[in-house]
Symmetry: C2
Subunit: 349 residues, 2 copies
C-alpha cells in the first residue's frame, strides 16, 4: 500500500526517525529493490551501482531495520538461550562459549533467565521464545515432567546444552561416567567411606546431570561392596555455603566419611573451606573431589572432573548454527576428564 504518493501525515512516527531504504534509493537514483540487493551482496547488481549504493548508505549512516527485514524474510536472526541462574559460573561459561559462535554466524543472542519452576512454567506457557528467535538453546535446565511435555509447542528448533531433554539434539557429558570417574578415583586412593554432596532444587524438577551423578555415586560404591546409604548423601538447598552446610552434616555422622564427592566445584570449594575452618587438613584428613573444571579450581588446587563447559557451549552453539543452516543433527558427547590436584589423597588410617 505504498504505491501511491506518500501521505503527509504518517501514522506511526518512528522512535528512531532515521533514514530508510527509500532515502538511500532516492539519493542513489535507483529503486529500493536494487538497494536491498546491493547491500546484501546478492547477485543482480552491477559493481558500479553496488559501490554507489554502499557509499550513499554509509554516508547517511543507514542501518537496516531488523524488524522489517525479519518480517519479510520470515526468520529473526536470533537465538534464545535459556538458563536457570545467570550468576552461577557454569552458565556464564556456557554463554561465553556460545557467544562467539553465534556472533560469527550473524545471530543475536537473546538470554532468558527462568528462576524456579514457576517462571519456567510461565515461560513455557506463554511461549515467549516462539517467534522471537529462530532457535532455542536450553542450557542444563531442570525440567519437570509436565514442562518437558509442553516443550514441543514451540515451532522453533531446540538444542540442549549440558544435559538431556527428551529427544532434542544435545551436547553433554556422560554424567554417569563422570560420576563414576570421580568416585573411582577416591576408591582407587583407598577410601572406603565416600559421601556425596549435592544441592536440590526445591521444586520437583528433574535435572539429568544431578540424577545421573548421584546414581553413579551410588552404584559405584555398591559395586565395590561399600555403603551408599542416604545418610552419606547430603542434599542442601542452593547457596554459597551449601557445601559447608552439607559437609557439617556429614562430619557429624557417627562414622564420618574420609572422602567427599561434590556435585560441583563450587560445592567442593565451600566444603574444603569448611573442613579447614574446623581444623581438618585437606587432603590428609579429608579428600574432596568436584565436577566442572571451574577456573578457580586451578587456582585453589582442587581435584575435579572437568566437563569442559566451554567446549559444550561452543559445540551446542555450532549445532544450532548448523541446524539453522539447514544441516542435520548429531548429538555430541563431550568426554569428562579427571584432573587430579591437591585435594585428594589416600586416607589417613
Amino acid at each position: 500500500m505504498d504505491g501511491g504518493a506518500p501521505e503527509p501525515g504518517a501514522v506511526n512516527p518512528s522512535v528512531n526517525p532515521s533514514v530508510n531504504m527509500a532515502d538511500v534509493a532516492r539519493l542513489a537514483g535507483v529503486s529500493i529493490a536494487t538497494v536491498s540487493r546491493a547491500l546484501r551482496d546478492v547477485p543482480g547488481v552491477s559493481q558500479p551501482t553496488r559501490d554507489r549504493v554502499r557509499d550513499i548508505a554509509r554516508e547517511l549512516s543507514y542501518v537496516i531495520s531488523p524488524e522489517a527485514s525479519a518480517l519479510s524474510r520470515g526468520h529473526t536472526g536470533r537465538v534464545a538461550v535459556v538458563v536457570p541462574r545467570l550468576e552461577a559460573w557454569f552458565y556464564g561459561a556456557m554463554l561465553g562459549a556460545m557467544a562467539p559462535v553465534l556472533r560469527a554466524a550473524d545471530l543475536d543472542m537473546l538470554v532468558y533467565e527462568t528462576e524456579g519452576e514457576q517462571e519456567r512454567t510461565r515461560f513455557l506457557r506463554e511461549l515467549p521464545a516462539r517467534r522471537k528467535a529462530d532457535a532455542v538453546l536450553l542450557t542444563a535446565l531442570p525440567l519437570s515432567q509436565t514442562e518437558v511435555a509442553r516443550l514441543d509447542l514451540m515451532g522453533a528448533h531446540v538444542v540442549v546444552a549440558g544435559g538431556t531433554v527428551r529427544d532434542f539434539p544435545h551436547v553433554a557429558v556422560d554424567d554417569l561416567a563422570a560420576g563414576r570417574t570421580a568416585v573411582r578415583h577416591l576408591l582407587d586412593l583407598g577410601h572406603r567411606r565416600v559421601a556425596m554432596l549435592r544441592t536440590n532444587d526445591t521444586d520437583g524438577a528433574v535435572w539429568s546431570a544431578d540424577v545421573q551423578r548421584t546414581e553413579a555415586w551410588r552404584t559405584t560404591l555398591r559395586d565395590a561392596g561399600l555403603d551408599a546409604s542416604d545418610e552419606l548423601l547430603a542434599s542442601e538447598s542452593y547457596g554459597v555455603d551449601a557445601g559447608a552446610r552439607g559437609l557439617a552434616r556429614l562430619l557429624a555422622l557417627p562414622e564420618p566419611p574420609t572422602a567427599v564427592f561434590a556435585y560441583s566445584d563450587e560445592l567442593a570449594f565451600s566444603a574444603i573451606a569448611h573442613a579447614r575452618r574446623v581444623g581438618l587438613r585437606v587432603p590428609e584428613d579429608l579428600s574432596v573431589i568436584g565436577v566442572d573444571g571451574h577456573p578457580l579450581g586451578e587456582t585453589l588446587g582442587t581435584t575435579t572432573v572437568d566437563q569442559h563447559v566451554t567446549d559444550q557451549g561452543r559445540l551446542a552453539a555450532e549445532l544450532v548454527v548448523g541446524l539453522l543452516a539447514g544441516g542435520t543433527v548429531a548429538d555430541v558427547e563431550v568426554p569428562a576428564t579427571l584432573v587430579v590436584r591437591d585435594t585428594t589423597a589416600p586416607p589417613a588410617h
Copy 2:
C-alpha cells in the same frame, strides 16, 4: 497492499506457518483491528468480544509476531546489554541482576559480548545494536577515546553500569573511594609497604574503574608519605593465574610488600593461593584485600571491598526501564563497603 483478494502464491512462505491475527479474526467473526485491541488490553472492545477473541486465540495457540508488532509500533521491546567477557563472575552477576528487572518490564535481553578493542570497534562501527534494541546497557566496558566519541551515533538510549562513560546516565560505585577504603584499611593495620595488583587489557582502552582504583592506591599511599612507585604496581595480562604471576613479581622485589591491594577478588584469590603455595602465611606474612564482593570470597574468607554488583545491575536495569517509560534520568552512586575477613592483619615485623 492486502486490500485485494489474497493471492494464491504467497511470496514469502513463513518459516513458522502458524496462525496469524487474520485467522483469529475470521474465527471470532471480527476484524483484525478488534483482535489486536482485544489481545493487548487496550480500550475500545466490549467485554464479551474481548473474551471470545481471547478464547479463540488461546485455542489456536496464537502467538503474535514480534517483528510485525515492532515494525508497526516503532520500538522493539528489547534491551541490548554489552559486556566484554561473559565468563567473568562480574558480568554474570550483572546480567543476573538485570534479568528479572527487564523481564518484569516485558523487555527481552539481547546480550553482546565484545572481546577486545577490535570487536568493540567493529561493534560500534556497524552499530548493530541500533534499531535492534530500544536501549543499550554498557556494562563496565573499557573504551578507547575514539570508541567513546563514536558512541553517540546510536539513536538509542544508553545507560552505563559499573563505570562511567562520557555523560551517559550511569550506575557505579565511587571507585576512587573504594580504592581508598581498601588501601586505608591496610594502612590502618600498620602496613607501610603496600603493593597493587591489576590486569591490563592489551589494547589502549580506558577502564574508568581501573584508572580510579589505581589512582586511589597511589594517592592514598603518597598522602601517607609512603612509596607508590611503579615497581609496586604489578600489571599482568588477564588470565586465571594473573594474581599469582603478579604476586610472584612483587615477592621478587628487593623489598617485597607486606600487603597487597588487588583490583578484583579473583585476582586476590589467585594471589593468596600463590602466596600459600610458596610458603607464606596469609594474613600473618602477607595481607591481601580485593574488590568486588565475589560470593566465593565469603567461602574463602577473603577481605574485600564489596561493590554490590547485584545492586548495580538491578539499578541500572531499573534506570533503563524508567528511561524507556519516558522517565527522567538520575545517576546512581552505589556505596562500596569494606568487608573484613581473614586475609588481612597487622604486619609481622
